[in-house]
């Protein structure tokens, strides 16, 4: 039994030069999906936050409903609706496109809350001062409120990006060729689940830990007012 287990580890380490490049290629896709869906989430989230902030009767209500509803639904369910559901209705997305759409749409709900907290953290005197100088509400938002809110928004956004990086693992269920899917493929070829999934976890860790350190550093710097 134990000698068997060690034999598996020996095979694993002997083949490591084959396994690692496959996983790293998957990790590259993971990073691509993370970045693309982060951009979608940030832009769409800002739009939602501004819509809620503007208090336009129906639109603001819809934005609020979007934010509350999507935050109550799992990533996997959203992804299946977009990948399998839309395909059934005739809109075929590649697993990569479905991943970015799903994570982006879901992320927008979270980013909307982060943006809202940022906008609300700016003292309303700032906006009033801008308006009294003759700026339009839109200009005041663009040149006075948002630049200041930016500082407040960065740390939670960085934290959200780490969560997003981990959420991309879910995309493996619709066969997007990312890290966990690459690991799954290797496992089905080698029958070394423990070794290969641990290696995959290690690759995730080497992506998320530096990001976490960076987020922490930025947070400390910003809170110090530097």
């Amino acid at each position: 039994m134990t000698s068997d287990a060690f034999a598996f580890w020996r095979i694993f380490f002997a083949r490591l030069p084959v396994f690692l490049p496959v996983l790293l290629k998957g990790a590259l896709t993971t990073v691509e999906i993370t970045l693309a869906s982060l951009v979608v989430a940030i832009v769409l989230g800002l739009l939602l936050a501004l819509l809620r902030h503007a208090r336009i009767p129906i639109l603001s209500g819809l934005a609020t409903a979007y934010v509350d509803l999507l935050r109550a639904v799992p990533v996997l369910t959203t992804l299946f609706i977009i990948y399998f559901g839309l395909a059934y209705m005739g809109i075929r997305l590649s697993s990569f496109a479905a991943a970015i759409t799903g994570l982006g749409l879901l992320g927008a709900a979270y980013m909307a809350e982060i943006h809202r907290a940022g906008i609300e953290s700016i003292h309303r005197g700032q906006r009033e001062a801008a308006l009294s100088l003759g700026m339009t509400p839109a200009t005041a938002m663009r040149y006075v409120v948002l630049p200041q809110a930016f500082r407040v928004v960065i740390p939670p956004t960085a934290n959200y990006a780490i969560g997003l990086l981990k959420d991309t693992a879910v995309v493996s269920t619709v066969a997007a060729p990312e890290l966990l899917f690459a690991a799954k493929t290797l496992v089905s070829q080698t029958l070394l689940p423990m070794q290969i999934y641990l290696l995959a976890a290690l690759v995730y860790l080497s992506l998320s830990l530096p990001l976490a350190r960076l987020a922490h550093y930025v947070e400390v710097r910003l809170s110090r007012g530097g």
């Binding site: 109550a72 299946f80 399998f84 934290n159 780490i162 690991a183 689940p193 423990m194």
Partner: protein
């Protein structure tokens, strides 16, 4: 819209009962994982605040590794990985174990923020009354930390409830895998997955409202009395503490708890 309603009118009676039964399994899965996370998380939190460097480092490594890797990967390691080295768990047990281990890492940081928010004079007073450190923790510090732990703890519970959907990847018979089966039988993915999403929302939204209620008194504690000292000062710190003092991957647990009231993760 009308077409969608017509479909639901026709099939709802067939789809809803199995999905609701599966949602009960989802709730069981979430409750057990949270129970494991609450207990294991407290142990990890106390280790993290221990005087022994070895315990501190072990707890720190646990928190960093678990929060730095996806829950789905952890589920695969516990289910497929352990089976690969001869330890076979059934898919429900594996899901509870993996999600419990995952929850514990986030919960540990929430506990730590809660415990650190209790003024150290409280503990010192308890010790000076002759309590042992364990009793001081049990009867003085933890009861006060509780109100600080509860809102982010509930947010975490919502996140776990949603993460139970990942257990469908190892065929645990919960809501998502039942939905997947139904899609296989009826080939109506859009209608069934949207229905599943609505059931998840029906479970998570009340919890989200609960968080908002729980957060209100804590925030009231922050209000500065005109000309006087802050009241209930013990309640002031935690929102900052969870967001800023945590060393590293602030995933779902504490991130933005201060800046975004009522945020559901």
């Amino acid at each position: 819209m009308g077409a969608v309603l017509a479909v639901y009118g026709e099939y709802l009676g067939r789809w809803l009962p199995p999905l609701v039964r599966a949602a009960v399994v989802t709730l069981e899965l979430a409750a057990l994982s949270i129970a494991v996370g609450l207990i294991l998380g407290l142990v990890v939190a106390l280790m993290k605040m221990s005087h022994l460097a070895a315990l501190r480092r072990a707890a720190g490594a646990y928190i960093e590794v678990i929060r730095g890797t996806p829950a789905l990967t952890q589920i695969y390691i516990v289910y497929f990985g352990l089976a690969g080295i001869g330890i076979r768990l059934d898919n429900f047990t594996a899901a509870v174990a993996a999600l419990g281990i995952n929850t514990a890492a986030y919960m540990a940081e929430i506990y730590r923020a809660g415990i650190e928010s209790v003024h150290k004079g409280q503990r010192e007073a308890a010790l000076s009354l002759g309590m042992t450190p364990a009793r001081a923790m049990r009867y003085v510090v933890l009861p006060q930390a509780w109100s600080v732990v509860l809102p982010p703890g509930t947010n975490l519970a919502i996140a776990i409830l949603k993460d139970t959907s990942l257990a469908s990847a190892i065929a645990t018979p919960e809501l998502m895998s039942r939905a997947y089966d139904l899609v296989g039988q009826s080939w109506r993915p859009m209608d069934i997955y949207v229905l599943a999403a609505l059931i998840y929302a029906a479970m998570c939204l009340p919890l989200g409202l609960l968080v908002r209620r729980l957060e209100r008194p804590a925030r009231r504690g922050e209000v500065e009395e005109p000309g006087g000292p802050r009241r209930r000062i013990g309640l002031r710190g935690p929102w900052v503490a969870v967001g800023t003092k945590g060393d590293g991957a602030e995933g779902e647990a504490g991130a933005g708890a201060e800046t975004a009231p009522g945020r559901m993760t």
